[in-house]
Symmetry: C2
Subunit: 259 residues, 2 copies
DNA sequence: CGGTGGCTTGATCATCCTCAATAGGAGTGG
DNA sequence: CCACTCCTATTGAGGATGATCAAGCCACCG
């Protein structure tokens, strides 16, 4: 059995909501390796000038995952850090008897950091995914020479901590309907932060995944979806998409939290 | 309604378990203001040489709380950071209808940081408490000139994030007995990390507090205590103390998590 | 078309919650 | 020292939310 301090894991950052961020460098040469990266400005990469960014990029590599393919497992040595550039990942922890708690979904632009030691959770693709990958040792060294990135990482960790606490309220105190409403609105907000002002969002994860994220069963999730649909709050579209019809009642349920 | 980015809050660090930490400065002059501080070596203060520590101390002040007295409320402006030097605090979030989720208990030596914006949770004394307090702006400036403290804060945030995820597993997937077993063992471990190898620990918080931390009701907590007592795993002593009689069965229940 | 896998729906069950009453313990005043 | 109060913890009975078990449905795909 590993010692507790070896079980530490890092920051997995989901850009759920806006947070105070450093100033982005919007223009880099078109022929730059990161020039076409669709998420550069959403990550700390956007903090770097072209020259630094090139040096940084040179230290990493890219990869690709098929749906269901793991990026790493809980207990694996954690010596890489990742930046998700496309697709969706789920992060989860297992109990010995197989019960599973999904602790978050990562979308393009999210950072998946790791601290020294072993991974405290597993990461797996929900749909085809692509990522940039860096050796943690090199990454840390790079951060040491770029304090603005260190500061950004700290803010990301603090932000993620706030999100985790929000989720603790959901898991500890909300009803099934409230959990799903919170989840859906969160997805819409995250989508809005990235794309346009769409009222339609894709749900790449299965009902089982949603259930394991919300502390419910797939049946209860399904019933709650049906209830929302019947009440005219949402519409379920082909290709795993959901349309938001009435934000009000859902917000009422999600009851963000008291001020 | 505040914008999302204003709702950010900071790092509240519970020294639940060991984590990789910077090297402590064990000797400082006896007449130093922090010379008698019982928790100096458990906090980042222990990283500072006497001279720096004096400068740091000079920027802060101390305070005291009676049981039940709030340190701040969710929604208050967050422009101070705290170091708990004695007593116990509970941190919690409320839903509009009064449902409460306690997101953590702070013990002496724990740091209660805040990020710009408003507090995302409330903090309140469970038993008489004492703390050091610093203006966040000054604290940040001090951190900027002491990168070793910045690094420590980052590690603390990452550590707290791991603990929050562990709690998500508890809240989402564990049974009542498993939750209480996990909670009790966590308390024993935290106590051991601070004091001696005692098998007796004090529970300064009420059954209601424990329930709101574990996502249960006080009745269910009480019944689980009784079950553990009846099974001979623990003994309930006067003055809110619990003695650990059989660690094995409790660990079985807590089922830390799969490797 | 038949098969496969995920989603939905239904019926029953169990855990935990709710409501209510009792017991215990600390503090107070006679 | 004892009675009284207040507050919390414990215990009990009944009920509800969500889990479990079990079909049926639907889309997708060979």
């Amino acid at each position: 059995m590993r010692s507790r301090s070896e079980e530490e894991d890092g920051t997995a950052i989901a850009n759920r909501t806006a947070y105070p961020r450093g100033k982005r460098v919007s223009l880099i040469p078109a022929d730059h390796a990161c020039g076409l990266c669709p998420v550069r400005l959403q990550t700390f990469c956007g903090l770097l000038e072209a020259e630094d960014l090139a040096r940084f990029k040179y230290q990493g590599s890219t990869g690709r995952l098929k749906p269901g393919e793991p990026l790493f497992h809980e207990g694996d040595a954690a010596d890489l850090v990742y930046n998700l550039t496309a697709g969706t990942l789920k992060l989860y922890k297992l109990l010995p008897d197989g019960r599973r708690q999904i602790i978050g979904f990562l979308l393009p632009g999210d950072f998946l950091g790791t601290a020294p030691g072993d991974h405290a959770f597993s990461a797996e693709a929900v749909e085809p995914a692509e990522y940039c990958r860096f050796a943690r040792a090199r990454f840390d060294a790079f951060v040491d020479t770029h304090p603005e990135i260190g500061r950004e990482l700290y803010l990301m960790a603090v932000h993620e901590l706030a999100a985790a606490r929000e989720q603790m309220v959901l898991l500890g105190r909300k009803t099934a309907a409230e959990r799903l409403a919170t989840f859906l609105l969160g997805l819409f907000d995250r989508a809005r932060a990235r794309n346009a002002d769409w009222e339609i969002v894709r749900l790449p994860m299965s009902r089982t995944d949603i259930a394991d994220y919300l502390g419910l069963t797939k049946e209860t999730v399904s019933r709650s979806f049906t209830a929302f649909r019947t009440a005219g709050m949402i519409r379920l579209l082909p290709a795993d998409r959901v349309e938001l019809l009435q934000r009000g009642p859902l917000e009422e349920l999600a009851s963000a939290n008291a001020g």
